[in-house]
Structure formats: C-alpha cells, structure tokens
Symmetry: C2
Subunit: 105 residues, 2 copies
DNA sequence: GGCTATTATCGTAAATCGACGATGAACGAT
DNA sequence: ATCGTTCATCGTCGATTTACGATAATAGCC
C-alpha cells in the first residue's frame, strides 16, 4: 500500500502540463534529456528540473550511458497510482449503500 | 479526451496528503464540511479551502442542502484520470517494441 | 426582525514552485 | 591533457500554495 504522502508526491509531480508531456514522450520510447529538449519549447535547465522531479517522485528511471542518461517511464509506479484510484472507486462497492453524511437526507 | 492542462489540474489537486484524506472520506460516504473538520486535525477554514480546490478541479461535487453543503466524490472524474494512466501504460503495447532514444544501444 | 449553525471568503505570512541563464561535473574522443 | 557533448546544479525572480484566525454570507428557527 502506498502512503498518502507517497501518492501526494506522485500526484504533485504529475500536476504540471510539461511533465505530463514528458511522460507521454517516455511512454512512447525512452529518451535522452536532449531528445526531450528538442521536442518541447523550454530551456534545457528547465527540462532537467522537471526530470529531477519526475525521477524523485518515482515516475521515471534514468539509466546512465556515458555522459548521457536514458530516461524511461516507470510503469510499475504508474500501475500503483492507478490502483490507488481504483481503490477510491471501489470503496463504494463494499460500503453499506445508502450511507450518508451526518445530516444528509 | 482530457487535455494535459485538465489532467495536470486534477493531479495537482490530488498532490496534497490532506486532500487525499478528504477524498478517502468522501469515497466512503458523502460528508458535510463539518464532518471532515471533525475527522481531520486542521482548521475549518483550511478544510474549506481544500474542498474548494477539489471542487474546482472536478474531484468532488457539492450539493447544497439549506446552509449545509453535502460533498461527494465525483467518480466519473476519478475514472477519467484512471483512464489517462491506463493510456500511459498502454501506449507501450502498440508501439514498435525495442524502439529506443536517439542514442541508446 | 434577531439568533444559531454551517460554510465561504478575506488578509497575511512562510514556504514552495516554475522559469531562466550561468556555471559546474562527467564522460568520450582527439 | 584538452576539447566538445551532455546533463545537473546554482542563484534568482515573480507567482502560487498552505496554513491560520477573523469575518462575512446563507439558510432555517424562534
């Protein structure tokens, strides 16, 4: 089970359009930092920062290859987050249906 | 299809442990603001702010009932976000396997 | 009209984020 | 050893977030 803090960290990292774009690129194929810089209209330093955020939150892996670093999507982590969402949805099924808040009619 | 901005907005809203706790409560049952304040160790104004963020990003609904507002999980939105994650995972299946970055061996 | 209960909003201060250019670090090639 | 390439880190700026208490707004009840 992922802790709330861990889920929050992953979600926070996902919470930026540029990082979503990066993840989509990495879902298609592994990329070097430079590949991503070439695809997106932002500075190299900014891409590097986003990659750092994604790596620290567990979204991506980074395999060193000489001076380059080949980034790839960490599908395991994606699957874990998906499971968290499924749990949110599923909690309803097993709960006593019709339960309400303290005052709802 | 959800836009990147929309996904980012939802993810950003999820990116806080307190809001995850609130969503878990709402996944169990609809709640008034006061119900949530009673469960969490933070001020009423802070809870209200978090609820606003969750509502604006589409995570929850708020049904007015007199002076109270009954909040509930928007399961449709949760499902949409789950679908986005599934797309990230699934993109691999249909891609030419073994495709790599510009220089990976 | 007043009173209570419930929730939203305001104002503020500390912390974090996102972007950039400039610089540093690591590695292969000459 | 010195390049050139590739990526990370530093320092900085304005903007945003998060938390709080205090205060306003809304709806029902007397």
């Amino acid at each position: 089970m992922m802790t709330d803090d861990r889920v929050a960290a992953m979600a926070k990292a996902l919470g930026h359009p540029t990082r979503i774009a990066i993840l989509k690129l990495l879902a298609d194929r592994p990329c070097l930092c430079g590949d991503i810089v070439a695809e997106l209209p932002i500075a190299q330093s900014t891409v590097s920062q986003h990659l750092k955020v994604l790596k620290e939150s567990g979204w991506i892996t980074g395999d060193v290859d000489g001076p380059r670093i080949c980034y790839g999507l960490n599908r395991e982590a994606v699957g874990e987050l998906r499971f968290v969402l499924e749990q949110l949805l599923g909690q309803w099924e097993s709960a006593p249906h019709g339960s309400t808040c303290s005052s709802c009619t």
